[in-house]
């Protein structure tokens, strides 16, 4: 395994841990900001999984637009929560 694929894999793993921790914290204390953050990190984790697919597993296929679109949707979800739903 190369250093770069290790870094990409670690990004995917840590972002998934973030998503799990945030959604777990939301389940315990129902603070809505944690839900929006958790959903955002689910998207960012997906973004990093597609990054691994793009760079490591399918290097000949360009998935950059797809993974950036997923990241944008993830960030939009969090911004929606921050603007409309944070009490």
């Amino acid at each position: 395994m190369t250093v770069s694929s290790f870094i990409y894999g670690l990004c995917a793993a840590t972002s998934a841990v973030c998503a799990g921790m945030l959604l777990g914290a939301y389940r315990r204390n129902k603070y809505r900001l944690l839900l929006w953050s958790g959903l955002c990190f689910v998207g960012l984790a997906l973004n990093n999984v597609i990054l691994v697919l793009d760079k490591v597993i399918l290097p000949d296929v360009d998935l950059s637009s797809l993974r950036l679109l997923v990241a944008l949707i993830a960030m939009t979800v969090l911004l929606y929560g921050l603007i409309w739903d944070v009490e």
Binding site: V3, S4, I7, Y8, L10, C11, T14, S15, V17, C18, M21, L22, A25, S37, F41, N48, L51, D62, S64, S65, L68, L69, A71, L72, M75, T76, L78, L79, L82
Partner: protein, 89 residues
């Protein structure tokens, strides 16, 4: 060409969204003095910078993973923020 234009637009949009999110968390931090919000602000600021830097540079495949070390730092900060919060309760 079309794909790279689209990617550039999307990169900029994600960086801007991260920056806006940073400002929200800075505001929450100033209102509450809770380190949790400061760490989140820092994490999204790092994300905004790394995405803008990646979008602006034409990096080789050898250099590019280094930009993702910044992203890794972002996730580490979030994990640290939640861990600190869990321990303080």
């Amino acid at each position: 060409m079309m794909t790279s234009n689209l990617s550039a637009v999307l990169s900029g949009a994600v960086a801007m969204a991260s920056f806006a999110t940073t400002l929200f968390f800075v505001r929450f931090w100033r209102q509450t003095s809770d380190v949790f919000f400061l760490l989140f602000a820092l994490a999204f600021a790092i994300d905004a910078v790394s995405r803008a830097a990646l979008g602006l540079t034409h990096v080789s495949n050898e250099i590019e993973p280094m930009f993702y070390l910044l992203r890794l730092a972002m996730f580490a900060l979030i994990i640290a923020a939640i861990s600190v919060k869990n321990r303080s309760r």
